[in-house]
Symmetry: C2
Subunit: 271 residues, 2 copies
């Protein structure tokens, strides 16, 4: 089953467009995990177990693992998810951006080592930074388009002579040149619903990964209205810290589950 098929199935069976972002920061872990040798794995595993039923995907952010020398715990987490939640797509958030043989190594990292279903990539280096991932024809390639941060406008809003901003040029490249095998998705931030709508209009039913709700201030109703595809789905709406650190007390698992369920419900209230 391809990533796109797995995602469509997850949308249907979970009834959710929530993606749970795994940004494990040991300093914010609950007391029971402080000092645990595999605290990152144990924390993420527990979060996945209690939130999986409310989610269409999980998205581990590799930077948090790499900074803690915890690649082995990320491998173990991916193994655990495949075994215990086999229908839950794993998106490796790595935002890799390189070319040729180096991009091939990054693709091996994502798809062989971690066996992720999809990986996020950066388009600044152009086509030869995207195509090496597409050779893995069952995998998803999720391309940065319009990011949710304030500085995103520094480059992405630069308009060419015909008035097209850079992020829409990226959307066009994805739709017209890189999506021949239907593997692509785009990252579009929830902090800019008007731009989500413009991207959606340009890329038809291509899935959108949407960060920026919760801590970053994106509004759920306007995001969902802007991003729905023709099937009434089409989005992976990410929430990380608002779920992971909903409580740092003994009730952290229940609090995370509740936060995930509430976010799912807030998304579905608009559909």
């Amino acid at each position: 089953m391809t990533f796109i098929e797995k995602l469509a199935k997850a949308w249907a069976t979970s009834g959710s467009m929530l993606t749970v972002g795994l940004d494990p920061d040991p300093q914010r872990f609950p007391a029971e995990l402080q000092g645990h040798p595999d605290a990152i794995f144990e924390f993420c595993r527990a979060i996945v177990d209690v939130t999986a039923q409310y989610a269409c995907a999980i998205k581990p952010q590799i930077a948090y693992f790499s900074a803690e020398r915890a690649e082995d715990q990320l491998e173990a987490l991916c193994d655990y998810v495949r075994e215990h939640h086999p229908d839950l797509p794993i998106i490796l958030d790595a935002k890799r951006g390189d070319i040729g043989s180096t991009a091939q190594q990054y693709a091996r990292e994502a798809f062989e080592r971690y066996q992720a279903d999809a990986v996020t990539v950066n388009p600044y280096m152009g086509s030869d930074s995207i195509t090496p991932y597409l050779e893995w024809d069952d995998k998803g390639v999720i391309i940065l388009c319009r990011t949710s941060n304030p500085g995103g406008s520094d480059l992405q809003f630069i308009e060419s002579a015909d008035g097209t901003p850079l992020y829409l040029r990226v959307a066009a490249l994805a739709a017209d040149r890189w999506n021949g095998n239907g593997q692509c998705a785009l990252v579009v931030g929830a902090t800019f619903p008007e731009e989500i709508a413009k991207v959606r209009a340009r890329v038809a039913d291509m899935p959108l990964l949407i960060p920026g709700i919760g801590a970053q201030g994106g509004d759920i109703p306007s995001t969902v209205k802007a991003g729905l595809d023709s099937q009434g789905t089409g989005m992976m709406i990410n929430s990380s810290r608002a779920i992971l650190y909903a409580s740092t007390g003994d009730d952290w698992r229940v609090a995370a589950a509740l936060a995930a369920r509430q976010t799912r419900d807030a998304i579905n209230a608009v559909r």
Copy 2:
């Protein structure tokens, strides 16, 4: 000593603007290292030992280590270089591109875990994807500007209404907004000498990391003429495969040293 100071010292003492790129591909290793448990470390260590005298920096490409689960060997390599070649700057080629707390984790990966002197980063997400690295005020931040690959033109050549291509907008952001503490450098490919000259004219004496000579076809004389700064230096001209795999026979160390020396000399012949 800051990265920029260390680099200037290396230019002066080595008389070289060659950077040796470490892209270790085990399938291309010499016979004596096949099956060695730490083959990646041993290969890279030997290459550094025989080429250090001809180089102003080394640049390990992290993708090659990550794809092989060899982060520990990259750590050991960086430790070895610091101990045995303390004046040789280590550039971690990671092309990271993320924001906020995630970028902080990538900075920790580069500057705490590997203790690199500089890291390459991707500017697509704008200022808040650059500034977290700048908080490490003795470290170098080397920003992708005009890359050496054919697809680099897909985005980097897009012109805004006033005719400025995107890569020169990045150069301007680096020079005017991100270089307040003098920590920045830019990646500009050797396959485009005219564009090296335009970047050099825009950023004064900011160092340039220049990939694309050798296997990628960049011409050394035109590259050097285009990129020299007002001090007659200013470049880290990278060569990876042409040095690493100069021979796969028993003479691989000598062949790598000769290739590095010849490249240094070819660069210096133009100065």
